[in-house]
């Protein structure tokens, strides 16, 4: 395979608090290749989100290296889009204006960004709401808008921090299919953090299991399904291979109180 798009080499991260040092990551190694969809699952507090913050350049590792295409991360990059658990849209901006905040901040060509946003809003079924304000949107629509906002800067890499966790079950399943297809079509490299094993298996090429705090990569599972084409996440959930993956990853996860 080619050079990894994202690489973490022996990454340690320790949070300093008035009560002392809290180790969050203890020697994490991971590689994500161009166009791959990789998930990280782990118990809460295992440092899943910390890994995303490191790649996004919001945090610096205490030790070890974080690389994008072989280059060390020094700060937020235009190549990385970061999607949070909730949309955090700006109430005083329309959907379109919200989606343009990234290009605006980065000083990108706003004409081209507007074209891209218009196209993405159409793909996510939000065209009619481009001039609406966030308070007029449902939860699923808001999270779609947040996805468009993230993609508006045209990043190669998408970091997804439990982007479905605040949604109801039905919306979550629908949005997973939509988002997955969109990211595939746009050939984005995606790293999803979640505590939902089903979500991870149904969407990913590989699933990494993190240990309890301080987090380390415990195991990596290649996810493949029979057939000429990868099934959509919703279909994957009922594929024959699915339950085998589920059992294995479930066994790997450190269950609290065990």
């Amino acid at each position: 395979m080619s050079r990894p798009r994202i690489a973490l080499e022996e990454v340690w991260l320790t949070y300093l608090t008035p009560r002392g040092a809290v180790p969050a990551l203890a020697g994490v190694n991971l590689e994500v290749y161009p166009g791959e969809f990789v998930s990280i699952v782990g118990p809460s507090g295992s440092g899943k989100s910390t890994i995303l913050s490191l790649i996004a350049g919001i945090l610096a590792p205490t030790a070890g290296r974080v690389l994008l295409d072989g280059e060390p991360v020094t700060g937020p990059s235009q190549r990385v889009g970061y999607m949070l658990q909730r949309d955090y849209l700006f109430e005083w901006r329309t959907v379109q204006e919200n989606c343009l905040i990234g290009p605006e901040v980065q000083g990108q060509d706003l004409g081209r960004a507007r074209e891209r946003v218009t196209r993405l809003l159409a793909k996510t079924g939000l065209s009619a709401f481009a001039d609406a304000y966030p308070d007029q949107l449902s939860g699923g629509m808001r999270q779609r808008a947040a996805l468009v906002r993230t993609l508006a800067i045209d990043p190669d890499i998408l970091l997804l921090d439990e982007p479905f966790s605040a949604l109801d079950f039905q919306t979550k399943l629908m949005l997973a299919d939509e988002m997955w297809s969109l990211l595939r079509a746009e050939r984005k490299t995606a790293l999803l953090v979640t505590h939902d094993i089903s979500e991870a298996i149904s969407m990913s090429d590989r699933v990494m299991v993190l240990s309890q705090r301080p987090g380390r990569v415990k195991s990596v599972h290649e996810i493949t399904f029979a057939g000429p084409e990868r099934p959509l996440p919703f279909k994957a959930r009922s594929a024959p291979e699915y339950s085998g993956y589920f059992q294995r990853i479930w066994a790997e996860l450190d269950q609290p109180g065990r």
């Binding site: 996004a56 919001i58 909730r86 955090y88 005083w92 901040v105 980065q106």
Partner: protein
């Protein structure tokens, strides 16, 4: 199924609501009229000493005289100018200091106890100091600004701190600079707080101006009230108080109206 005549019900409900509003408005007018009549009667029949209470007809007479001689516009103009200038300067200064404190949190930490003390201090006590430092005219502005600026700083700085941290995180993931975060998130998200500060301050500034005029001015409504008291012309005092009540109500309404317009135009979030 029982047929319910919806339109008739709604019409009846609306009629009832309208009647209720009309009754409240009528009662409000009646209350004012009753007070005026009682005041006039009490003074006219010497139930109370009219030297001490004045009376509505005397107030009206004074008012028409003041309008005729033009002195009303002089004093009203002075007080209004002092209030509006003091208000604008107080708000601008308060906003500026709040931004500086947001930008340098360490500075905010250092200044915190002093802000608490200054906020608690009755600014009116500073009147004589302003008089000596700034002279009889400018001291009124000093008073007006002093009374509104600290509360503005405290309110806005607190408002800035309440901005959703994850909205700022969204900006940081795009690599936004501190200035961009301030302009595009912190200020717009704090506009409802700014509006609340405007409402508080228009009243406070008027207090500052009147007290400033009490201490040192040679014109303005506060000056008229003090002067009227000193020469024992209660009709002058009462007239000035009535005018003051009217303009403070008008200024408050103006700010409330501006708030509504700005909120609609900018689609502001409700104040948290």
């Amino acid at each position: 199924m029982v047929h319910v005549p919806q339109e008739a019900l709604v019409a009846a409900y609306r009629r009832q609501q309208r009647r209720r509003r009309a009754t409240v408005a009528a009662a409000q007018v009646a209350l004012l009229a009753a007070v005026l009549v009682l005041w006039e009667l009490a003074a006219g029949r010497h139930w109370v000493n009219p030297m001490l209470t004045s009376r509505p007809t005397a107030v009206w007479q004074t008012l028409t005289q003041m309008i005729a001689s033009g002195s009303l516009w002089l004093h009203l103009g002075v007080t209004l100018r002092e209030t509006l200038v003091g208000f604008a300067v107080g708000m601008a200064l308060g906003l500026g200091v709040a931004v500086v404190l947001w930008w340098w949190p360490a500075l905010a930490e250092v200044l915190d106890p002093y802000l608490v003390v200054l906020n608690a201090l009755p600014k009116i006590a500073l009147g004589p100091i302003f008089y000596i430092w700034l002279g009889h005219e400018r001291s009124v502005y000093g008073m007006a600004v002093a009374i509104s600026v600290i509360v503005t700083v405290v309110m806005l700085h607190a408002g800035f701190g309440e901005v959703e941290a994850n909205q700022i995180l969204v900006m940081r993931t795009f690599g936004a600079t501190k200035g961009q975060i301030l302009r595009k998130v912190v200020i717009p998200a704090s506009l409802p707080t700014l509006m609340a500060a405007l409402k508080v301050n228009i009243g406070l500034t008027l207090v500052g101006v009147i007290v400033g005029e009490f201490i040192s001015a040679r014109a303005g409504l506060g000056y008229l009230i003090i002067y009227g008291g000193q020469v024992f012309q209660m009709q002058l005092v009462m007239t000035s108080v009535v005018i003051l009540a009217l303009i403070s109500a008008l200024l408050y309404l103006a700010v409330t109206w501006a708030e509504r317009v700005v909120s609609r135009l900018l689609h502001l979030p409700p104040r948290r």
